[in-house]
Structure formats: structure tokens, C-alpha cells
Symmetry: C2
């Protein structure tokens, strides 16, 4: 799960980078300063720190910025995939982590992407936004998406713990991660505190402090996803984080239709909102209508 969260953190940072370079036209030296600044606030973390370092590094051979010469074909050792497989087994949704794993898979078919890029247009529009606003919105969207991603990872741990009787203390896990690992970050202290206040918290988003943080940044996340969507910058992990929030907080999802369809073609039955029990309808019998 640690590595799944790490994949998501890295993918969210990559998408923030893409927004700033593609919509905001920021060059690596500016990006280095931006990430360095971000590392002083709520995003303070090992990954943001090294990202700032990376953008500042010059390529000794060409004199350009080294990051611009690195091939966008990301490898994986399979640990992110294991996290997704565990989540599938347990029936827990971790869409931001899945999006990160899928993004690495798509990055790896570089030759096919180069071929496709000559044939498939974006049909995106030029979006106009002041650079300072874009940087600030991207910062807030990244922080919000990061919380939503950790909420998914912790929900997976909580389910694994109850399913397999592990009695995990999630606050201690956050404290251990903070001690030293790739996802070490100031933010883990907030998570530790949330579980200290309520060890049986069902989802991180229901902790008052987390709810407050997410709610103050949610408009930024909506704005960034909308901007990227219009302009054609792919932001699968940002989107998945936002959809997770919107699905989690929605009392009535449209999957009543899904249940009706399943009952129609497979007699899988359905439940009702107004009384207990299991029901089946003879949908194709026109006489009953």
C-alpha cells in the first residue's frame, strides 16, 4: 500500500508538472523554484523536495536542463500493481492509485504514442489564465488530490485489517512512514493525528481536520481538472481523485439503473429504497407496463 500511494504521489506531481509546463509555459528553472517554494508549506515532502532538485539540474553534455532529455517511459517493479490487485480482491476502490499504474503502462508504449500523436488531434482549446493563478490553483489541487489519494490507501488498509484480522493501528503506520521512506511528508502527521482522535475512523475524509482541508481546496481541484480537460492535458489521477470524492459523498449514485439493467438481462434482483427485501421484475413482459 505504501508503494501504491507512492505511485499516486508521483503521478499527481507529474500531472501538476504537465499543467504548469503545457498550460503555464513554465521552464524547468521556474519549475524548480515553484516546487522549492511548495516544499516549505503543506506539500513539504521528500518527493516534492527531490522534484525541485531534479528541475534545477543541468545536463553537462548539452547545457540544457537534464529533465528535458529524459525519456518519458516510466518503468515499474510491480509493487503498484500489487496494491491494485489487493484492492480488487477486497472490493475497495483506489482509483487514483489505479490511474497511476495505468499511466506507467501507457507511458511504456512510447513508439505507439509517437505514431498516434501524428494521427490523433487534441481538439482542445487554448485556455487563458494568469500564471500566478495557475500556480496557486495547481498547488491547491495537488494537495487536495493527495489527501483524496491517501484516503483511498488508508481505506484499503482499514479493509485489509478488518478482513484479515490484522488489527492494524493506522495512525502508527502513518507515523512510521513519516519516519523515513519515499512518501515521508509533513502531511502524514495530520493523518497520524486523525487516527489518534478516532482509531476506528471509516475514511480519512470523515476526520474533521481532513474534511476542512479538502473542502478549502476542492474548488481549485475542480478548476484544474476542468482547465486540463478543455485544453487536452491528460490528468487521469487528478480526475480519479475528484471522482472518488464525488462518488463517496453522493447519497444516490446512478447505479440504481445498473441494478435494473442487471435484473433485466440476468434476473440478478435488486433492493428497494422504501422497504427491505430482494425484488425481481419481469421487465420484458410488456403486458405489465
Amino acid at each position: 500500500v505504501h508503494n501504491g500511494i507512492e505511485y499516486a504521489d508521483m503521478q499527481l506531481i507529474a500531472e501538476a508538472y504537465d499543467i504548469l509546463r503545457t498550460i503555464g509555459k513554465q521552464k524547468p528553472n521556474n519549475l524548480g523554484s515553484i516546487f522549492s517554494e511548495w516544499n516549505k508549506g503543506v506539500l513539504q515532502s521528500f518527493l516534492v523536495e527531490i522534484t525541485a532538485d531534479i528541475f534545477s539540474r543541468k545536463d553537462p553534455e548539452t547545457g540544457g536542463f537534464l529533465v528535458d532529455y529524459i525519456l518519458d517511459k516510466a518503468g515499474q517493479k510491480g509493487t503498484g500493481r500489487w496494491t491494485v490487485e489487493s484492492a480488487l480482491d477486497l472490493g475497495v476502490a483506489i482509483p487514483t492509485i489505479s490511474a497511476a499504474v495505468d499511466s506507467r503502462a501507457l507511458s511504456s508504449i512510447k513508439d505507439e504514442r509517437v505514431e498516434a500523436s501524428g494521427q490523433l488531434d487534441s481538439y482542445g482549446e487554448q485556455v487563458e489564465i494568469e500564471t500566478d493563478s495557475l500556480i496557486s490553483l495547481t498547488h491547491d489541487a495537488l494537495y487536495c488530490a493527495k489527501i483524496l489519494s491517501y484516503a483511498q490507501g488508508m481505506a484499503l488498509l482499514a479493509k485489509a485489517s478488518s478482513e484479515w484480522h490484522w488489527s492494524l493501528r493506522l495512525g502508527d503506520i502513518a507515523a512510521i512512514w513519516k519516519g523515513g521512506c519515499i512518501i515521508r511528508a509533513r502531511f502524514l502527521e495530520e493523518i497520524r493525528r486523525a487516527y489518534a482522535d478516532n482509531p476506528v475512523l471509516k475514511n480519512l475524509l470523515l476526520a474533521p481536520a481532513m474534511r476542512q482541508e479538502v473542502s478549502s481546496k476542492l474548488r481549485a481541484l475542480r478548476e484544474i481538472v476542468s482547465l486540463a480537460t478543455k485544453s487536452g492535458v491528460p490528468v487521469p489521477a487528478f480526475c480519479a481523485a475528484l471522482s472518488y470524492y464525488d462518488q463517496y459523498r453522493t447519497k444516490a449514485l446512478p447505479l440504481n439503473l445498473t441494478q435494473a439493467q442487471r435484473d433485466y438481462f440476468g434476473a440478478h434482483t435488486y433492493e428497494r429504497i422504501d422497504k427491505p427485501g430482494v425484488f425481481h421484475t419481469e421487465w420484458s413482459n410488456q403486458e405489465n407496463q
Copy 2:
């Protein structure tokens, strides 16, 4: 894979329903007419046909529309999950199908969602759009997302075929599905034709007819995702379809940064864009900067 595609089809239809009922304020009787109309065009399919039937069905007990009394808690027999697991094993990205599986998982924790709905606000905005435009944009977005979802499913079959030496004839598979199954649809004839023209097609999106269809509907998909994002209607499968397109058609993804990070913290090495070979940088050595 058939069932994975079926999950995605059903989830995309559910999201279109949610957009029309939540943003467009459409009631089941109108929705029945809309889907019935859609079933005469490019979306003609068994699932769209039964969706129209479902919306028209009255509940004999209450006199209301039956769909409004069905609980939004969708079951699954595990076949969609198997598709996602196969894709993970083969390293193929099928994000729209994953989003459909995740959506069923989130639908199943109804009690938790009801609790969360009282605590988590949407911070979405009221979006203003004429009903006829919304219906037409939703139709085009649904068709576009459907093509993008089938492209993912067929890419998975192609990879499985080459990896395990199955010599699958993908056009024949489309023709068999068209013959009779839950995803039977007019659109499968287009797929059959695409593989008849080019049996070794790498991705459905590269077939000229498919490219044309997607490109003519892509603006609608961007518009609908942006509208839903702003208003707080969760559209994970629509988002995942659009992100898939945007990642697939992008020559230079931001995962050059991911590779730099992996090389920084784990010495995983990277490739360069300007010459062959495998490289490593001593990132943390400040002297070299």
C-alpha cells in the same frame, strides 16, 4: 473482456443518466424517450434499448417510476474484476473498465456514502445549459467514450493474443459479439470492418473510420466532463475515457519526471531522448550541479 466492456458500457450509460437527471433535471419518462431516440442512431444497442424500457416502467405499488425506487447498490459477480486483473498482468491500461469496477465497489458502501453525504459538501457550481444542447452533448460524449472504452478492451485482447500466441481474429470476435450477447450493438459492425481492413491494427483509434468518429465527438466529451466536474456530478468512466485518449495521443508525457525521481531515490536509471543507452545521475551530489 466481453464482461469488462459490458461493465464499462453500463457505467457510461449510468453517468449519462446522472448528467441528464442532475444537471438537466430530466424525469424518467423523458429519459425513456431520450434513450429510445438514441437507440435509433449510432448508439443502437441492447443496453440502450433496455435502458429506455426501464425508464418507462411504472412501479405498480407506488404508481411512480420503478427506477426511482431501486437501491443504487450494484452487485458484481467478479467478471469485470477478472478483466482488470488480466490487464494488470499484461501491463495494458483499461482505465474506463477499471473505473466501472471501482464505481460498483463505491456503490456497494451505501451506508458509508449516506453518512458522508451529510458531512462532505460538493462545492460545485450551478451550471446553466439549454436542455436540448445538454442532451445532444451527452449523446455525443457517450458515443465517443464508448469507442474509447472498446479501444481499450480490444487493445487488451490484442496484447493477450500476442503474449499467449492465441492468434485471435479481433474482427471475428466483434462479429460474434454482434450476433447475440449483452453488448450487442450496431457499433460492433464498425469494429469488425476496422479489423477486416487491417487485421494487425495496433489500436482501434488508429483505424481511419474510428479516428473520424472520435474526432467529431471529442469536443462534446471535453465539454461534458468539464460541466460535470464543475457541477459535482461524478463521471469517473467518462473522465477515464478522455484521459486515455489524451495520454495515448501524447508524444511527450510528463513521466520523464517520474523516471528522474525513480533514478534519484532508487538508481533505477533512465533513457534519453537524444541517444540510445541507459543512464544514471548522482542527483543528490550537489557538487555536480
